[in-house]
Amino acid sequence: MAKFQRSLSARQRTKARYGVIFVLPAFLLATVFMIYPLFASLYLSLTKYNFAFDTKPQFIGMENYVKAFQDSAFIDSIGVTAVYSVLYFVLVMLGGLILALMLFYAKGKTSVFRTAYFLPIVIPLSLSSFIFNWILQKNYGLLNYFLADILGVGSLTREWLSTNPWAMISIVVVSVWATVGFETILFLNGLQALPEDMLEAGIVDGATGFRTLFSIILPNLRETFAVTGIWAILQALKVYIVPSLVTWGGPGTATTVMYMYVYRQSFTYLEMGYGAALGFIMSILIMALSLLNMRISKKV
């Protein structure tokens, strides 16, 4: 028995050794491309370093972080991101849920609709942003042409990209269009995972229509809400491509989001230290909101 136990341990030890070897490449990749850059950026955020004019970083402690919260342009960009995020989060969650419910209740031939909802995700966001920039242009854009020349309602034409609030609405709409398909698929998976006998029991008890939806279906999608919520928050807060290419951050700074400001500091002004600090502030903000979302989802 003791000899058997010893040989079992040896086999397990061999397995463990192989396990380490298999995991090692991924661990090395993570270390080189994630862990090391993370700590290097953290150090950089505590320094003053302009890539063009400074020969090496100069340690200044928390000065960059203090500067960030005194930087009115950065605070404004947080405000713009907050407005965008709230609008985007509500629309993409609602939109995704409604589309998923429609697909769920439709049953049968829904593959065409599922493909149609998911197609925008497949198109590179930068490409679709360029195209929407053209569609929404005031004088030669397709939307104003359609409204004025096809529908004959020229009074509805707008400067969609260069006036407020239409510029903010434009980037929210483009972002929702591009990503609602993914939320729909996540919600649909959650709906399809619901036990059928639970729904049947509800019907037997007299629950129909919206009653079934609000009393049975939605409460049982708690975990799905956690996943979709975190994904939507991440998409909202790390927005960059759409406002950069559709409205170029304008009019004025009305659609200049946090990431655009961080990019500008790091790669346009080459202020690597300050840019790194801004990046960490953003990361902390995103993590905090994600944790909040998870807590709320657990309580509901």
């Binding site: 890539f51 063009a52 004019f53 920039n133 929404l136 242009q137 005031k138 004088n139 030669y140 104003n144 004025a148 020349d149 004959g152 309602v153 020229g154 009074s155 509805l156 034409t157 400067e159 990209l161 260069s162 006036t163 407020n164 510029a167 559709v246 409205t247 170029w248 951050g249 304008g250 009019p251 004025g252 700074t253 200049t256 500008r264 790669f267 346009t268 002004y269 080459l270």
Partner: protein, 425 residues
């Protein structure tokens, strides 16, 4: 055995002698890199083919630079003495700041004696081009093509509105920004709630700083204050902003460039816009699109006498290159050669850096723009000058949208200027 060893030693000796001889010569291969539009519009591939034909044994490789955001990676390589490019085209000499501060570039004048060859003296170049490539009083950038801000005009629209100078057979030249507003008002047409013809588009996107510099230079003859520091403060400038705001509010001046620097050129090329106030080469694109004789040039108020804003695409040669002489030779014979310089002018509307090629211009408008360019100024070489292209246009846009007052606008513009170090790199 001894014989074999002797032969081997002789061979080894000969090889080492050969390798020394090769090391003293420059490698006969250079790599030229630029953005894809530069490669097309400067006819670089054609220039490379001709250069290889004229110099058998020489190889010129053309590569595309994806974006100016990748320039810092070249700085890192060049600091280590390595380079995979021998001639690099950059659109704004301020992009060279990161290289100049680390002494990574050849000075065309002192190091390469570029101006000593006949036909390539400083006087042979368009003034604003050399100015744009000068940093710390050294010629680190060699201008290849130049542009200047002017007013592109749709001929038919101008004639119909009675804005044609019959004596010059050219569009009228506005004396003030009130004139520009009145011209645009006459040209602007709205049908069924939709703009049928846009009066004017002024460049109010990320190149707003160029528009401001062009406007100030034209109106006041200088962009500097009495201390030689960049300043927009003047009565003329304030009046101009008020006219801009009025025109924007009425829709006569379009705001489409807010979201796309190219929007004005696109609508001008499509025949939708009658006046386009930005780079003066756009009229050629309209001619190509809508037919010869569609468009002509006029200037910003005061631009003909006082100049405008000029800028260049410049070539830089890194010290890390092993073929600096060959690189300089290619610039002279290829990029500054007749085919590239004339082709870029007549086909794409980019002015040649060498003044003599204006004689080959097919359109008389180029002589007009040459006069404007010769008096023009370029972006001041300040540390942090990139702020001009990132922070001025949001301020102007906010003012045009009445989010801030005129005084607040002028204060914010001044604050951006104050935040830049006025010294060179």
């Amino acid at each position: 055995m001894k014989k074999i060893l002797s032969v081997m030693m002789i061979l080894a000796m000969l090889m080492s002698m050969g390798s020394v001889a090769l090391a003293e010569e420059e490698p006969q291969k250079i790599t030229v890199m630029g953005l894809s539009w530069q490669i097309t519009k400067i006819f670089i591939e054609e220039a490379a083919a001709q250069f290889e034909k004229d110099h058998p044994g020489v190889e010129v490789v053309i590569e595309t630079l994806p974006d100016y955001a990748s320039l810092p990676t070249y700085a890192v390589n060049w600091m280590n003495g390595e380079t995979d490019v021998d001639v690099l085209l950059i659109g704004d000499a301020n992009n060279a700041a990161q290289f100049v501060s680390r002494d990574l570039l050849y000075d065309f004048e002192e190091d390469l004696k570029f101006f000593e060859e006949e036909g390539f003296a400083k006087e042979d170049f368009l003034g604003v081009g050399l100015l744009d490539g000068t940093i710390n009083d050294k010629q680190y950038g060699m201008p290849i093509i130049c542009e200047a801000y002017a007013m592109n005009c749709n001929n038919a629209a101008m004639k119909e509105a009675g804005l044609w100078d019959e004596d010059r057979d050219a569009p009228v030249m506005p004396a003030t920004w009130d004139d520009v507003y009145e011209y645009a008002k006459k040209l602007h047409k709205v049908e069924d709630g939709k703009v049928a013809t846009q009066g004017a588009v002024i460049q109010w996107g990320s190149s707003t700083f160029a528009t401001l510099i062009a406007a100030k230079q034209g109106m006041d003859g200088t962009i500097y204050d009495e201390n030689g520091i960049l300043s927009f403060e003047s009565e003329n400038f304030r009046k101009m902003l008020e006219v801009w705001q009025k025109g924007a509010k009425e829709g006569i001046f379009s705001k489409e460039t807010y979201a796309d620097n190219m929007a004005g050129r696109n609508s001008f090329k499509a025949g939708i816009t009658s006046l386009l106030l930005e780079t003066g080469g756009a009229f050629v694109e309209a001619d190509v699109n809508l037919g010869p004789g569609t468009a002509s040039l006029s200037c910003f108020p005061g631009g003909y006498e006082n100049g405008s804003y000029g800028f260049s695409t410049v070539a830089i040669i890194p010290r890390a290159t092993k073929s600096p002489k060959l690189a300089a030779q290619f610039i002279k014979e290829g990029l500054l050669g007749k085919n590239s310089q004339t082709g870029t002018l007549n086909v794409y509307g980019k002015m040649p850096a060498l003044a003599r090629y204006f004689e080959n211009a097919e359109l008389k408008d180029w002589q007009f723009l040459q006069v404007v360019a010769n008096n023009s100024v370029c972006t001041p070489k300040y540390k942090g000058a990139t702020k001009l292209s990132t922070e001025l246009h949001p301020i102007i846009q906010s003012y045009l949208d009445e989010a801030i007052t005129l005084d607040e606008c002028m204060d914010k513009l001044q604050a951006v200027i104050d935040s830049m170090e006025k010294s060179a790199y």
